[in-house]
């Protein structure tokens, strides 16, 4: 599999580390235990297109949001994480 890193270009799978579903959002500090439990443990088992967190540890160390079809491994989009790169968000 090959991923087009927005910073480094097309690179081979071995440079990247997979984390998992990029959809869950870390709950606010006061969200309560159920919300955090859901965030930490409950995952959809998606057969099809999903967005995933990947880390380009063998390259620029950016976290990437990769849109991938879990059935075909087709990657339709790769975006940097909100805080990836040098620029501060909103700066």
């Amino acid at each position: 599999m090959r991923i087009v890193c927005p910073f480094c270009g097309e690179r081979e799978l071995g440079e990247f580390t997979y984390l998992g579903d990029a959809k869950p959002v870390r709950p606010a500090a006061d969200a309560g235990e159920d919300a955090v439990y859901d965030y930490v443990y409950l995952r959809d088992n998606i057969a099809g297109v999903m967005s995933e967190n990947w880390y380009h540890g063998g390259g620029c160390r950016a976290w990437l949001k990769v849109t991938r079809n879990t059935l075909t491994h087709e990657i339709s989009a790769v975006e940097p994480a909100a805080g990836a790169g040098a620029a501060k968000v909103g700066a």
Partner: protein, 993 residues
């Protein structure tokens, strides 16, 4: 002296008669020529019997002339290079080649195990499941070893492979698999269009079927066209043609696996060269021109030596000038089989008869028969009279019911052609059935891949050329190259007609899968017993599961299943195709990653100095760390380690701790960021101070620990454990980039940039004064415990100095740029000579941390909470941090959790061992009363006995209790006392002094 090549034809063939080669097969000497394969050389020497079959030990000969060979498997070479299950049909002949037949004892001609044939009734489909069900323990002890002896393949070398294997990457626009007419035309078109092209050919010679069948292309004889085309391709700078290279797999994103047999054709690789190279090829487009495989017809005795695929027979005759037989019969159900007759006649061989299963035979063939004096029989071969010396007579069931006999010493069989659908089906593409050729053709190929020519079911030479050329031009265009491809090579198409015939009824074993000895009746039995699905059929009968992966057998097997289950072949379907297309040695996948280069090795900055000191090194992850520094006269490691600990505690010592992960945290929000990732607070840490920190995973379990120092208002420097260095960096980057992108903070890994030494012991300050610039104040007031700042060293280098202690002694850690690491070690030795400075290794480091009750890897086990480690008071209640909420879950704060506690044996002389279970005293050990386990132990010079740390249920409430340590692995049982984990200087006066 080698015997004469009895079956070598007087002229012709693509062999070099000026380069004779001698070789040995089963100890007997033979000769062949450069350009031969082992199989063709055996054919040329009249050798028909080359192996014994897997289950029944039946005599077997050479069936094919390619990588689909199921029978002619040999052990090639000897000693450490012995390579079992090598196909004689692809092994190139070289001077001095040694090969041995497999699966026979005591000899190939007289094989004791051929009595297995008498027991054939018990070796039917599913016999593993039926025969050896009971009693269960007989399986491992008796059945399996017996079966392994009786049935099987070649023997592995049993010793390390002396050769090197390489792995490489290549990139191209158009990848072409196969160098037959379709592949060459594709490469030509793509190359002319300006694309970067790689063409892989598994044979050592380019040309595919042109090498055996010839033909006329663009008005030229095939051989001439081939030379011209190869020259044109060679002249294109962006076209790379690779022989001896099999494309074996297709992976995601246009990545392909190929195996290049760089030096398999030599007795051993030349010095400094690799044996094989595994290629990972990234291609925008791929044209599969892998050709087609001729398929056998299943009839009784079809495995008799001398029965051979028709195309293989004409390859041996045409390409290798070797006659598999003198008087040949042909059994065919298609037009293409007749080409073997033409080739054989052209070479002066006799045709005994042609048995054609089709209703209509052309008048041209009839006149060929009458001209050459052989008969043409309508019908099918129903039996073969012969044995290990080959075919003698062939029984024929004529259309209409009569019987006939044909005397021949060789039988060529053609059951039609199966396009090689492997590569196009590796992404779960299911090939589709084409009635006109009675074969499966590619469908659902991976993105960017297209099949052309025979691989696509179009067998004519003209069709191969035009289709290959069009596919190559289209692939180049799709890959962004619009150059002019010119005109396609032109040739006539041969007629092809086939009348499907899979199985001829008859008496005796009729083999479908030669390599796994699966017969037609096994398939019928599987159907009767309900294993009708092709995937069940495969596993129940082992059809197609041998090293040849059923290349010659799968389609026939499922056609027979279709017939007995009353379904059509497409309804019956195919099993899933998976790579690799041919067996690939594990060595090729490993490449250079073996032995000392199995993984990268990281050396600490002071490594070479430590090696000079005679240090013993230990592998910790990728690192080699000095474990201890033995001195002359010390009888064991314990004596050395104890000396090192005492030297530190009474004087001064130093240890390279550069393996710790080191991260610079910069930015106005650096403090806020650290507050979110550690359980304790760092935003309120004063500049010039260090603080111990603990981080959790989001599920509330402890992740890592280390010290963090604030070097400036917006600059922190944190350390991680050695093991988690990379993972913590990844985790912190995730927090920074994904979870908290609003924070203005940057992380820089500086693990490799700084050499860091721990300097510990009451004389540390004296030693440091010799190193540090005299203007720096190292007094307790000027540099108090947990102080951290940049200092100048004598000579002007800047260093980072931290007053932190893992040993419990007065200690500093000093960081210098990594390139000064070795000089630092040498200077510390020099400057500390008068103080008796002692380098210490990781063992002494471990002893001192256990004596101090500090946690490390064994306690940070991925199951412990901050409270388990006695660090719950660090957990801030005034802020959110990673893991805060989940750490409060009921089970994670339960009062009966296993927590860190000290242990010491009641018998002071006893040695402790990690891993022993803690059981209440007086109880019989068992899972029901297992209360924890020993995590870390050492001999403590300070306590003059073995001490340890353990995770014990409610341990802190039980200080003073005697419990039982049960160590079933080492067979040890003894009592230990639970105690305060801080064995040494519990009030910490020494480290603050």
């Amino acid at each position: 002296m080698a015997v004469a090549q009895t079956n070598r034809l007087g002229n012709g063939g693509l062999i070099d008669r000026s380069a004779p080669l001698s070789f040995r097969f089963d100890g007997k000497s033979f000769s062949g020529f450069q350009g031969d394969t082992l199989a063709s050389a055996l054919v040329a020497n009249g050798v028909k019997l080359v192996g014994r079959s897997f289950k029944y030990h039946r005599p077997r000969g050479i069936l094919t002339a390619g990588s689909e060979e199921p029978n002619a498997l040999v052990e090639l070479r000897s000693g450490s290079r012995r390579e079992p299950n090598t196909k004689a049909t692809t092994a190139e002949l070289y001077e001095g080649l040694e090969a041995a037949s497999q699966n026979r004892w005591p000899s190939l001609r007289f094989d004791v195990m051929s009595v297995n044939q008498l027991f054939a009734p018990i070796f039917v489909a599913g016999f593993y499941y039926k025969t050896f069900m009971w009693p269960a323990k007989f399986w491992e002890a008796i059945y399996e070893p017996a079966i392994r002896r009786a049935a099987g393949l070649g023997r592995a070398a049993g010793v390390a492979d002396p050769d090197h294997y390489d792995k490489a990457w290549a990139h191209c626009d158009v990848l072409v698999a196969g160098s037959g007419p379709a592949g060459l035309a594709a490469a030509l078109a793509a190359g002319r269009s300006g694309a970067r092209v790689i063409l892989c050919e598994e044979d050592f010679a380019f040309g595919g079927r042109l090498l055996s069948d010839g033909g006329t292309i663009d008005g030229l004889p095939a051989a001439e066209w081939l030379l011209r085309t190869l020259a044109e391709l060679a002249a294109m700078p962006d076209v790379r043609i690779m022989n001896r290279t099999t494309l074996f797999g297709v992976y995601d994103g246009g990545t392909y696996g190929a195996l290049e047999r760089v030096n398999d054709h030599l007795p051993s690789p030349p010095e400094h060269q690799v044996r094989q190279r595994l290629w990972r090829i990234v291609a925008k487009r791929c044209v599969v021109a892998a050709g087609a495989l001729e398929r056998p017809i299943v009839f009784a005795g079809n495995d008799t030596p001398g029965v051979m695929m028709a195309s293989a027979m004409r390859t041996y005759v045409g390409r290798y000038a070797a006659a598999p037989a003198k008087r040949i019969a042909l059994f065919t159900n298609n037009e293409d089989g007749w080409r073997t007759v033409e080739t054989a006649l052209g070479a002066g061989l006799q045709i005994a008869a042609v048995i054609d299963a089709r209703p209509d035979i052309s008048s041209a063939h009839r006149s060929l028969a009458s001209k050459n004096g052989f008969t043409v029989l309508h019908g099918a071969v129903s039996g073969v009279d012969g044995g290990k010396d080959g075919v003698r007579k062939i029984a024929v069931s004529l259309t209409g019911g009569a019987r006939a006999e044909v005397e021949a010493d060789g039988l060529a069989v053609s059951g039609g052609w199966n396009p090689a659908v492997g590569l196009t089906s590796y992404h779960r593409g299911r090939p589709k059935w084409r009635d006109d050729i009675a074969a499966f053709v590619p469908d659902g190929a991976p993105p960017g891949m297209v099949a052309a020519g025979a691989a696509n079911g179009d067998f004519g030479l003209g069709a191969c050329l035009s289709q290959g050329f069009a596919a190559g031009a289209a692939a180049a265009h799709d890959a962004g190259h619009g150059g002019k491809a010119g005109t396609a090579p032109v040739a006539d198409d041969e007629a092809f007609s086939v009348t499907p015939l899979w199985h001829v009824a008859g008496k005796g074993k009729a083999f479908v899968d030669y390599q796994h000895d699966v017969t037609a009746s096994d398939i019928e039995l599987a159907q009767r017993e309900g294993f009708e699905s092709v995937e069940h059929l495969k596993r129940y009968t082992t059809l197609g599961m041998a090293t040849d992966q059923g290349k010659t057998s799968n389609v026939a097997g499922l056609a027979i299943m279709a017939a007995v289950s009353g379904r059509s072949i497409p309804e019956t379907g195919t099993t899933i195709y998976r790579p690799p297309y041919v067996p690939v040695a594990i060595g090729a996948f490993a490449g250079h990653h073996r032995d000392e280069t199995f993984h990268a090795t990281r050396l600490t900055p002071s490594h070479h100095w430590a090696a000079e000191q005679g240090a013993v090194f230990v592998d910790t992850g990728l690192w080699k760390r000095a474990q201890w520094y033995p001195r002359a006269g010390e009888k064991d490691w314990l004596e050395s380690v104890t000396r090192e600990v005492k030297a530190v505690r009474s004087g001064v010592g130093f240890c390279d701790v550069s393996t710790l992960g080191k991260i610079d945290v910069h930015g106005p929000d650096a403090g806020a960021f650290l507050d979110r990732v550690y359980i304790n607070t760092f935003s309120n840490l004063a500049v010039g101070k260090a603080r111990y920190g603990l981080m959790l995973r989001e599920d509330g379990i402890v992740y890592d620990d280390g010290t963090t120092s604030r070097l400036a208002e917006d600059h922190y420097f944190l350390t991680t454990t050695t093991a988690k260095a990379g993972l913590v960096m990844q985790h912190l980057e995730f927090c920074r980039q994904v979870l908290f992108p609003e924070l203005d903070v940057q992380l820089t890994s500086v693990s490799d940039q700084w050499a860091q030494f721990s300097i510990a012991g009451p004389k540390t300050r004296d030693l440091l004064k010799e190193i540090v610039d005299p203007t720096e104040d190292l007094s307790n007031e000027g540099f108090p415990f947990m102080g951290a700042r940049e200092v100048a060293l004598r000579g002007g280098i800047k260093a980072r100095l931290f007053r932190i202690s893992f040993s419990g002694e007065m200690a500093f850690e000093i960081s210098v740029p990594a390139r000064y690491g070795e000089a630092m070690a040498r200077n510390l030795m020099l400057a500390g000579k008068s103080f008796g400075v002692t380098p210490y290794g990781t063992e002494a480091l471990g002893v001192m941390r256990i004596e101090k009750g500090h946690i490390a890897g064994p306690e940070l086990s991925g199951t412990t909470t901050a409270a388990d480690l006695g660090l719950d008071k660090m957990m801030s209640t005034k802020k959110d941090f990673i893991g805060r909420v989940m750490a409060g879950r009921e089970a994670l704060v339960a009062p009966d959790r296993q927590v860190v506690v000290g242990i010491k044996p009641t018998d002071k002389a006893r040695r402790l061992r990690s891993g022993a279970h803690i059981i209440p005293k007086g109880q019989t050990p068992g899972p029901g009363n297992d209360q924890g386990y020993v995590t870390s132990v050492c001999f403590s010079p300070a306590s003059d006995q073995w001490i340890g740390l353990a995770l014990v249920e409610r341990g802190r409430e039980r200080i003073g209790e005697i419990v039982h340590a049960h160590d079933p692995i080492r067979g040890e049982d003894y009592d230990v006392e639970l105690c305060n984990p801080v064995f040494y200087d519990p009030d910490g006066g020494r480290q603050r002094g």
